[in-house]
């Protein structure tokens, strides 16, 4: 590494490590390619080749992440940091991207705003996530935040003929912009207080001038906290989440619930665990309060939701609360636990979305929980997938979700925050009351409304069973995604060590103890 700050008078071209930037370059290149190919005439190219390009791009990005594995380098003169944390979280993002691409392949949303735009925007958002996760400078962070947000605003409104989707896009745009503005204001105050934009430089300035109690600095931290809480949908700044999750096209919701979450926690970890860590005692109580409120609001809000997407939205708020428990510890084990949790939780969550999408296409009930009724006899494979994913989200032993919670509990106990872990598990008991009824609905095999209980045939004339043609409407890729993910949930629930090895060095670039 050879960069010099000495010759400050003459602006020198920044030293760029192109290999280190390769995940970003691949994603940006793929986005442009998808956009161009999407303009071509033949429909088969638009509907088949463009998703392939997106898949290949995410695959290549994963490949370049693996090739960079274990490295720790600073890119573009201190703007970005490529370290294990970046790589692990980008793995989650790109993995989520692969799944979301498969889920969106034959989706109505991609059809409506054209495939080229749809997948190109998804790749652009992923590129933004890379910038956000890797950034170690306030300015870069904001660029990443906007690069992530803008494509997602459009994707949420992708079903242009549907009012709910447009509403979701608009709502997300407005709330997201407020969040961005708040973050930006916070950044300005941080810069004003410390005179620095680099994260480690900010930390040094806080220590040097003893800013931990400085009002200007603390207001900056508060603004950043609020803004990022908006972005990561943490309570009490979460109100947009259920509406947006419900209104957005389901593959986009699935992508947001994984990738956006990983990116948001990436930036939260870097900003707070590196830049403003010297003032940890000032901000930790606030974040503990946010964690508690988020867990309560998520778990209570999810109760009694009839829409699966709304339920999963609240559930993802609750899960974000669990992750925050790992974050407020400000410890090496805590960061490892967060990364392990994100990896393990993603599997079950994406599997659930795969089943929801399949049922949206097969039944007239959309994402309502009633669409799952009788799934156990009608589509046993999907039923097993949904069951496993619900058990995993609920954190039942022998699933990936349990191992994720186990890591967070262990990290909390090691940092003397066992009481926080106790609150976590007690609130996750509440979550049984909304995950388990889904499982019961699947397996109880009750007769459907509008069905004659005695004969089991629909009351309406005709009575043609719509099972067979429905099954073919959903698409094999959904079943494939679901089964693979569910198998991974069980496998990693029994042998989680590979994931724990993966995240063992997660906090190496942060200098935590």
């Amino acid at each position: 590494m050879s960069f010099s700050f000495a010759a400050a008078a003459v602006p020198t071209a920044p030293n760029i490590d192109w290999a280190g930037l390769s995940p970003l370059l691949v994603l940006l290149g793929g986005a442009i390619l998808a956009l161009i190919v999407g303009l071509s005439g033949p429909r088969s190219i638009r509907t088949q080749v463009v998703p392939m390009i997106a898949l290949a791009t995410f695959g290549l990005a994963i490949g370049s992440i693996i090739s960079l594995w274990g490295q720790s380098i600073v890119l573009i003169e201190g703007a970005l940091q490529l370290d294990p944390l970046t790589l692990i979280l980008m793995l989650v993002v790109c993995g989520g991207g692969v799944v979301a691409t498969l889920l969106a392949w034959r989706d109505q949303a991609a059809e409506e705003i054209a495939h080229g735009e749809f997948f190109s925007l998804m790749l652009l958002a992923s590129a933004g996530m890379f910038v956000l996760i890797a950034s170690r400078d306030l300015v870069t962070t904001f660029v990443g935040l906007e690069l992530l947000s803008l494509p997602l605003y459009i994707l949420c409104a992708a079903r242009v003929r549907e009012e709910r989707s447009l509403e979701a896009g608009l709502k997300y745009l407005i709330i997201g912009s407020v969040g961005s503005a708040t973050v930006l204001y916070g950044f300005a105050l941080l810069y004003g207080a410390t005179g620095q934009t680099g994260y480690s430089e900010i930390a040094a300035a806080i220590e040097a001038s003893n800013l931990a109690a400085d009002p200007l600095f603390l207001s900056g931290v508060a603004m950043c906290t609020v803004g990022l809480a908006f972005k990561a949908s943490l309570a009490p700044f979460h109100q947009w989440t259920p509406d947006v999750y419900e209104g957005a096209p389901t593959p986009v919701t699935a992508f947001m619930s994984i990738a956006t979450k990983a990116a948001a926690f990436g930036v939260i970890i870097r900003l707070f665990d590196v830049a403003v860590r010297p003032a940890v005692e000032a901000w930790r109580p606030i974040w503990i309060a946010i964690a508690l409120i988020t867990m309560v609001v998520g778990n209570v809000g999810a109760l009694g939701q009839a829409s699966m997407k709304r339920m999963l939205a609240y559930s993802s708020i609750a899960q974000a609360g669990y992750i925050l428990v790992g974050f407020v510890l400000v410890s090496d084990l805590g960061v490892q636990a967060i990364c392990a949790y994100l990896v393990l939780y993603s599997l079950g969550n994406l599997a659930a979305f795969a089943v929801v999408i399949a049922r949206e296409r097969e039944t007239a009930d959309g994402d309502n929980i009633s669409a799952l009724r009788g799934l156990g006899t009608e589509r046993p494979a999907l039923a097993v997938v949904m069951t496993i994913s619900m058990l995993s989200l609920a954190g039942i032993p022998a699933t990936a979700g349990f191992m994720g919670k186990l890591r967070i509990v262990e990290a909390a106990a090691a940092a003397d925050y066992a009481w926080l872990a106790a609150v976590l598990v007690l609130l996750s008991v509440v979550s049984m009351a909304y995950y388990l009824p889904v499982v019961a609905t699947i397996w109880r095999g009750a007769t459907q409304p509008g069905t004659d209980a005695a004969s089991g045939l629909p009351v309406l004339a005709g009575g043609a069973p719509e099972v067979e043609p429905a099954a073919s409407r959903a698409g094999w890729e959904l079943t494939l995604v679901g089964v693979v993910l569910a198998a991974a949930v069980i496998a990693l629930g029994i042998f989680p060590q590979p994931v724990f090895n993966l995240v063992a060095s997660a906090a190496r670039g942060l200098g935590l103890s």
Binding site: P397, V429, A433, G445, F500
Partner: protein
């Protein structure tokens, strides 16, 4: 290092999986075959366990999750030796019941798989020698039962099973936090190690022990269930299918009792002594409340449910007397009650067949008239339930009361009332079902050969235990003395210091 325990542990799940994959008509046979194989293995263990040497035998110990220091460690000791065999007996009885006595309930393969998983989880909880492994199996026990109840349960199954799940998970997840905290605190910054034998070497600080012990105690008391943590029991019992309920009431409550001896007393002796009286109050309250309710409810199932609360109260009382005889009696009673309660659940189902499908005592009556052999079998089980002298239950309750009398006399006096109450509710169950005026819908008939296939083996076990309780008591004494030693030391040290402080002025 042997593989025997891994075989016995995973055999039921493997049999269940096989039953699912092979044609449905074979499922119940395979399920029974799996249960019989486990039973044979358990009997072989009983015969082969070196009673003279005692201690932990057939140990399997592999590092499972190296980042967290969690081991896949299994072992057989005096505490779990007989309980393993009891588990095998009850699951075999349930498999026989499902094969010969239940009409086709649909999806027999799935049923076999879930029962197999349930047995594996229960055996895992009994065998685990690693604290986190124990907690994981303890939690895992619940999952197959969830599906068994949701798919085959009674009319209120959805809400009943949710209640059951939430109640038990509150306890067992707090227990998980407690277990992890214990391991992390013992490691004190180093690599954690959750082996129970390792954790027992370094006692925790007094404050930490206190709340961790309470988390464990809560989990166990809910699972049993004990008064006042029994809120899930009435709905849960009413909605479980018979084959499932027999296993649930017989075995799952015993895992909790075993947990006190295996985990709570050796690892948290200070707290066990400090909260001894609190737990004993809960136990005595359970005895009185359970007996009183068993004496008043109309549903035959719930008579057994509430009687279980009372019986488990005796077991807890015996354990927390912190006296060798009390704990031995408790462990013996765990086996006795498992066999008798499991058998009586089947009896209730058979009674319902003879009274037009109703399990209400008020709609039964006079069944003995057409079924003398059935009445005789039922009477033996009832006598065992009320701990008639001559049964092993009498031996066990006597030892429990003796142990309690030695350590906390007042509790023994109150608990003795419970013995009398047991006679009330056990005989009430028997008399109002078998004698009294003949119920309106009652059509009595003799014990069928198929029913006999279920009940007679259990009857033989009851008789065998009555004739030779020492068979179960022998290894128990070795196990309980090791489980109690830490708490007894704390108690002795406590009384010395209190005597010293009394002496100083």
């Amino acid at each position: 290092m042997t593989i025997h325990l891994s075989i016995i542990l995973w055999l039921p799940a493997a049999a269940g999986l096989l039953a699912l994959l092979l044609p449905a008509r074979l499922a119940r046979w395979i399920s029974l075959l799996g249960a019989l194989l486990v039973l044979a293995y358990a009997i072989a263990l009983l015969a082969d366990y070196d009673r003279a040497a005692g201690g932990l035998q057939y140990v399997t110990d592999d590092l499972w999750i190296s980042s967290l220091g969690i081991h896949y460690a299994l072992g057989v000791s005096g505490l779990n030796l007989v309980l393993l065999a009891t588990t095998a007996v009850i699951f075999t009885a349930s498999a026989i019941w499902t094969l010969v006595d239940e009409p086709d309930n649909g999806k027999p393969g799935v049923y076999a798989l879930l029962m197999g998983l349930a047995q594996t989880a229960v055996l895992g909880a009994f065998l685990a020698q690693d604290l986190v492994l124990f907690v994981i199996f303890f939690d895992l026990m619940l999952v197959p039962f969830y599906f068994l109840i949701v798919i085959w349960g009674g009319p209120d199954r959805t809400s009943a099973v949710l209640k059951l799940f939430i109640y038990t998970l509150v306890g067992s997840l707090l227990m998980l936090v407690g277990a992890i905290t214990a391991g992390v605190m013992v490691a004190n910054g180093g690599e954690p190690n959750f082996l129970i034998s390792e954790l027992a070497k370094t006692p925790l600080g007094s404050t930490a022990q206190g709340w961790i012990f309470l988390a464990f105690a809560l989990a166990f008391l809910i699972k049993m269930p004990s008064f006042p943590f029994h809120g899930w029991m009435p709905d849960g019992y009413s909605n479980m299918p018979i084959g499932v309920l027999a296993v649930f009431t017989a075995i799952l409550s015993k895992v909790a009792a075993y947990g006190f001896l295996q985990v709570a007393l050796p690892l948290f002796p200070d707290a066990a002594v400090r909260y001894q009286e609190l737990i004993m109050i809960v136990a005595v309250a359970s005895i009185l409340y359970g007996s009183a309710m068993a004496f008043t409810v109309d549903s035959a199932r719930l008579v057994l449910g509430y009687s279980s609360i009372a019986q488990l109260g005796f077991i807890v009382l015996g354990i927390f007397a912190l006296d060798g005889r009390g704990a031995d009696g408790a462990l013996l009673q765990a086996t006795n009650h498992a066999i008798v309660a499991g058998a009586l659940i089947f009896v209730v189902a058979m009674l319902a067949r003879r009274s037009g499908g109703s399990e209400k005592l008020s709609e039964m009556g006079g069944i003995a008239k057409g079924a003398p052999a059935f009445a005789a079998v039922f009477l033996v089980f009832s006598f065992a339930l009320l701990a008639m002298p001559g049964t092993a239950n009498f031996v066990a309750e006597f030892m429990i009361l003796l142990g309690t009398f030695e350590s906390k006399m007042a509790f023994a006096f109150i608990a003795a009332i419970g013995v009398a109450l047991a006679a009330f509710y056990a005989l009430r169950l028997y008399i109002s079902a078998m004698h009294h005026r003949v119920g309106e819908k009652v059509k009595s008939f003799e014990l069928t050969p198929r029913e006999a296939l279920v009940l007679v083996p259990l009857l033989l076990v009851v008789i065998a235990l009555a004739l030779y309780p020492q068979f179960a008591l022998g290894p128990a004494q070795d196990g309980t003395s090791k489980a109690l030693i830490a708490a007894q030391q704390v108690e002795a040290a406590g009384s010395e210091t209190s005597m010293a402080t009394e002496a100083t002025p």
